[in-house]
């Protein structure tokens, strides 16, 4: 029942905070968000699942209730976690709590609604990562969009309405395409349920018939393409990434943290769960084009970041680049590739959260994010600047930080892939992305943080050290990043355990 309790606590907390007075909303939301955070850590300490949830492994904290039957299909409340989903649940709850604390300074309007939406989003996100029935999962999946639409649209920057609607329209159309693809797949498979484990095992066992005069093979390819398109928008991969910079630049900092830290992972998580677990043969047949998309995302995203003048845009585009690594790891179909990709979801969640928060803290003081408007900020904000530098090195993959472990696993896994043709070539190209990342981050830091102190609006805003509650979430994230870098096995063991069954029957190992 602990998963249900986490979702219920976050949901009830959202309602309570929504009607609480504005003055206390932030503190109250923080206090209430500690409950799911502690609960998820308890889940981590009591985790006892083995294998992959979709290939017949045993689940941890599983619950199953009959919900209803619709046109011969059984719809259940089916939750549980395995080694892939648990790290993402922990990431969600911790990042939500930290994002709430980081909102205390910048959010000064309609606070109770803001924090209520943050908690509502947390409840939905936990649902996305724990639901194992398709329709139930889809409900949570879409429920995440609604609060994010409001968070961007109400508290965002000058072009917030455009950004919010673009985000909403892009991701909704993507969801519709994915939904049609998957339902077509289910209808053609002899199952009478929407439970993902059963569907997955039926599909992996090849029990699929043609439908609507499509042959089984054509249907699988069509469904794979529809789902890939749907999830690719969410990830996002080039060329479906154009909503991301708009959403990030306009979103308030805490929403950016959640967007980059957790919402993008919904896309890669779903890709792993649906495309790469259920239809491994199609994924392997189209491995080369998928890997090409991944490498293009890595390089093109990094080049776009190189060209930006806005600190937030730099971090936003670098997310496109980092998500490209995840796709490359997935398509490699090796234990280090897929495991590293899953590890990268968590690592990138923490690191990009840290980067967005640092940019936010600087923005709170300077009210600008343009690289050209400031220099030598480290002179006035030494602690924030120090953490910013540490986070940037995490992004570049400095050893003993989470980013290094994740990217190293992915490159190792991708390099030795037997499924992907020209695997060493793709890996080599993707590794080149790290050089560009180092380039733009070092260049941006050199211009903004170091050198003599100069600031365009010096007469308007006093630049000084940030408040303790602004720097504390940064410090917590940095500690977590280093902890995962030093001891990746905090998560990597369970991830590998859950990933290996996909590969064994999928043909990778």
């Amino acid at each position: 029942m602990i998963i249900e309790m986490l979702i219920a606590v976050a949901f009830v907390a959202a309602l309570v905070v929504f009607v609480a007075p504005d003055e206390y909303a932030g503190k109250l939301a923080f206090a209430l968000s500690l409950l799911p955070a502690v609960g998820s850590l308890y889940m981590w300490s009591g985790f006892d699942a083995t294998g992959n949830a979709l290939t017949g492994g045993t689940l941890a904290f599983a619950e199953q209730f009959e919900w209803f039957t619709l046109s011969g299909y059984e719809i259940q409340w089916l939750t549980g976690v395995d080694g892939i989903s648990l790290p993402l649940v922990v990431l969600t709850t911790i990042l939500t709590t930290l994002a709430i604390v980081s909102s205390w300074t910048p959010i000064d309007d309609r606070q109770s609604q803001f924090y209520g939406l943050m908690l509502f989003m947390e409840a939905s996100l936990i649902g996305v990562f724990t639901a194992l029935d398709f329709l139930m999962w889809f409900v949570f999946w879409e429920a995440v969009l609604v609060p994010m639409y409001f968070l961007i649209g109400i508290w965002g920057g000058p072009r917030r309405k455009y950004a919010a609607i673009k985000f909403f329209v892009y991701t909704n159309i993507a969801s519709l395409v994915m939904f049609i693809g998957f339902v077509a797949l289910v209808v053609a498979t002899p199952v009478t349920t929407f439970a993902l484990p059963e569907i997955s095992q039926a599909l992996r066992g090849g029990e699929i018939e043609g439908y609507l005069s499509l042959s089984a093979g054509a249907l699988r390819t069509f469904a794979f393409a529809a789902m890939f398109l749907g999830f690719a928008v969410k990830v996002p991969v080039v060329p479906f990434h154009t909503w991301l910079p708009d959403a990030h630049v306009e979103a308030p900092t805490p929403a950016s943290v959640m967007l980059a830290g957790v919402l993008l992972k919904m896309g890669t998580y779903a890709l792993l769960r649906f495309n790469f677990t259920m239809l491994p043969d199609v994924a392997q047949a189209y491995a080369v084009p998928i890997a090409a998309v991944a490498v293009i995302s890595v390089i093109y995203g990094a080049l776009l970041a190189l060209a930006q003048q806005d600190l937030k845009r730099i971090v936003a585009y670098s997310s496109v680049s980092s998500m490209g690594y995840v796709i490359l790891g997935l398509v490699a179909y090796t234990t280090y590739g897929v495991g590293g990709a899953t590890f990268q979801m968590v690592a990138h969640g923490l690191i990009s959260g840290l980067m967005f928060m640092s940019v936010g803290v600087i923005y709170n003081v300077t009210h600008t994010r343009m690289v050209g408007d400031m220099s030598g900020i480290a002179d006035r904000m030494p602690i924030t600047a120090g953490i910013f530098v540490a986070g940037a090195f995490g992004y570049m993959g400095l050893p003993l930080m989470a980013g290094f472990a994740a990217e190293f696993f992915i490159f190792k896994g991708a390099f030795e892939s037997t499924v992907l043709s020209f695997a060493p070539l793709f890996t080599a190209f993707a590794m080149f992305g790290i050089v560009i990342v180092a380039g733009y981050l070092l260049f941006a830091m050199q211009r903004t943080l170091f050198g003599p102190y100069e600031f365009a609006d010096d007469d308007k805003y006093e630049v000084g050290p940030a408040a303790l509650h602004d720097t504390l979430p940064l410090a917590v994230l940095l500690v977590l990043i280093i902890a995962l870098g030093v001891a990746p096995n905090l998560f990597f063991g369970m991830i590998q355990d859950a990933v290996n069954p996909i590969l064994q029957t999928g043909g990778g190992l």
């Binding site: 929504f18 009607v19 919900w67 209803f68 039957t69 619709l70 046109s71 011969g72 299909y73 719809i75 309609r110 609604q113 939905s124 329709l135 889809f138 409900v139 949570f140 999946w141 879409e142 429920a143 609604v146 409001f150 649209g153 109400i154 917030r160 309405k161 919010a164 609607i165 909403f168 909704n172 159309i173 519709l176 049609i180 339902v183 209808v187 609507l212």
Partner: protein, 507 residues
């Protein structure tokens, strides 16, 4: 779970006529309201009237819900209860629609308490609502073309008066007149259709018509024309093409609670009678080849949903947008009659349509009651007038957001499952193109529904308005509708299963 009370088999517990108790209660409440009004015509208190009307409607919905849970009139307890020589039946379908009509009427009467504060003739208003609700609940039970016509008129005549209730308001009177004229025309067409069917078959009882249709010899064309005209009568009541054009006028001009009542309850009742008439009287296996009503409904469904959605997208007036969206939803519900074929599981399709109407009863009533709240505060009518509404009334705005997203079929709300069930049933019956048209329309509808949400939450207030008083009744009704819309997501299972077994009993 309530104890099972199979009325048919245990007549010693309750007399047979008690199966009609919900309709009788609605009618009696209307009479009580008249009595209260005639005792103290000048000083009848609004609270007393609203309380009596609310109690009557809630009671009717509760009794119907209890019967439904107890399995009254279902095949398990001995089949439909037939009353008055078979002119009236009580079964799952009639009880299901009585629950919809009763709960919508309850929300409307509770909300009207505030809306009528400064109006005269309150007692007439409530009793007309109750009389119309009586007619609507009987429409679901009518098992003969004669009772169909009588109950249809009983529902329609009070509705005409209610639309024109604000008699010093030109818009309201004009809307009432238009509604009445088109209603009279469609009633005439409908009655003529009945007479043609009678001419061909010689009977009026629905099961008897089905039997007689097998042997109409050379009168098949007459019967076909009659069926077509009967379709026209239903199109009027459900606000579907081609008799839809009264709806935007009537819904816009009418007092907003009446718009809610007509667009939710009256539409549902129209579908109730259509489902029964076409499933029982004109079953596919019995009708002559000329009477292809399935094709008619397929065309009507596609045209109605497309026209409703595209017209809604071009509106600048929120109430009018809701009126067109209501036409669009009639198109979705028509799938229940359009995706019918001889070898498919028709009960599942029709049941999915009934479940959609059930969810629709909450979300659409709530949306119109929100408009009633806005009219109460003189907010204005266009999308721009709702700019920044959420800063003034966040709870009402949150409820309206729930209604809008649910009407659009977004997943975290009841409207997602009901639309999904409907389209899935259509696909399973082999009519994937109907589901595709529905899904495309549904995706488009997000555009105009989200305009309201965007105005309320994202836009800054352009005009300022003062909220002097927060009306308790309206707020309560809106919050109940919103909670219902939300709860129908987890609780959709029992609703759709009840609806599908009720519909399956007809075939």
């Amino acid at each position: 779970m309530l104890p099972a009370v199979p009325l048919q088999s245990t007549q010693d517990i309750l007399p047979l006529w008690a199966a009609l108790a919900p309709s009788i209660l609605l009618g009696l409440t209307a009479m009580v309201l008249f009595v209260i009004d005639s005792i103290k015509p000048e000083e009848a208190s609004n609270a007393l009237l609203a309380g009596v009307a609310g109690a009557g409607t809630i009671g009717a919905a509760a009794i119907a819900g209890w019967y439904l849970l107890a399995g009254t009139g279902t095949p398990e307890t001995g089949g439909a209860i037939s009353l008055y020589g078979g002119a009236i039946v009580v079964d799952g379908l009639s009880l299901f629609f009585t629950v919809i009509v009763g709960s919508v009427a309850a929300m409307v009467t509770v909300a009207s308490y505030d809306y009528l504060q400064d109006q005269q003739h309150k007692a007439e208003f409530y009793s007309l609502v109750l009389l119309a609700a009586t007619g609507m609940s009987l429409m679901g039970s009518a098992n003969s073309l004669a009772t169909v016509f009588v109950s249809l008129e009983l529902a329609s005549l009070p509705s005409y008066a209610l639309v024109a209730y604000l008699k010093h308001n030109k818009g309201s009177v004009e809307a009432g007149l238009k509604y009445f004229l088109i209603g009279a025309l469609s009633s005439a067409v409908f009655a003529f259709g009945i007479s043609l069917v009678f001419a061909a078959t010689g009977v009026l009882g629905l099961p008897a018509i089905a039997e007689a249709l097998g042997d109409v010899s050379d009168l098949g064309g007459v019967a076909a024309l009659g069926v077509l005209m009967i379709v026209g009568g239903f199109a009027f009541k459900t606000a579907s093409v081609p008799f839809h054009f009264w709806a935007p006028e009537a819904y816009e001009g009418a007092p907003a609670p009446i718009s809610a009542f007509l667009s939710s309850a009256s539409k549902a009742a129209g579908f109730a009678v259509a489902f029964r008439v076409f499933a029982v009287a004109f079953p596919l296996e019995a009708i002559p080849a000329q009477v292809d009503w399935v094709l008619t409904f397929q065309i009507l469904a596609v045209v109605t949903m497309t026209l409703g959605n595209f017209a809604a997208a071009t509106q600048e007036n929120v109430k009018r947008m809701l009126a067109y969206s209501s036409i669009g939803h009639a198109g979705y519900a028509l799938i229940g009659l359009a995706a019918i074929s001889a070898d498919a599981n028709n009960g599942a399709t029709m049941g999915a349509s009934m479940a959609h109407l059930f969810v629709y009863g909450f979300m659409n009533t709530g949306a119109f009651l929100f408009i009633a709240l806005a009219e109460h505060w003189d907010v204005g009518r266009t999308f721009e007038d709702f700019d920044g509404f959420a800063t003034h009334a966040p709870v009402a705005a949150a409820a309206m957001t729930v209604f809008m997203f649910s009407l659009a079929g977004l997943p975290p709300f009841g409207g997602f499952f009901s639309k999904y069930a409907l389209f899935a049933a259509a696909v399973q019956s082999g009519f994937w193109w109907l589901a595709a048209v529905g899904a495309i329309n549904s995706a488009l509808s997000l555009f105009y529904y989200s305009r309201v949400v965007k105005a309320m939450w994202l836009n800054d207030a352009s005009t300022s308005f003062e909220i002097e008083r927060r009306p308790v009744g309206l707020y309560a009704a809106i919050v109940i509708a919103a909670v219902g819309t939300l709860l129908l997501l987890p609780a959709f299972g029992p609703v759709v299963e009840t609806a599908q077994s009720a519909a399956a009993a007809l075939f």
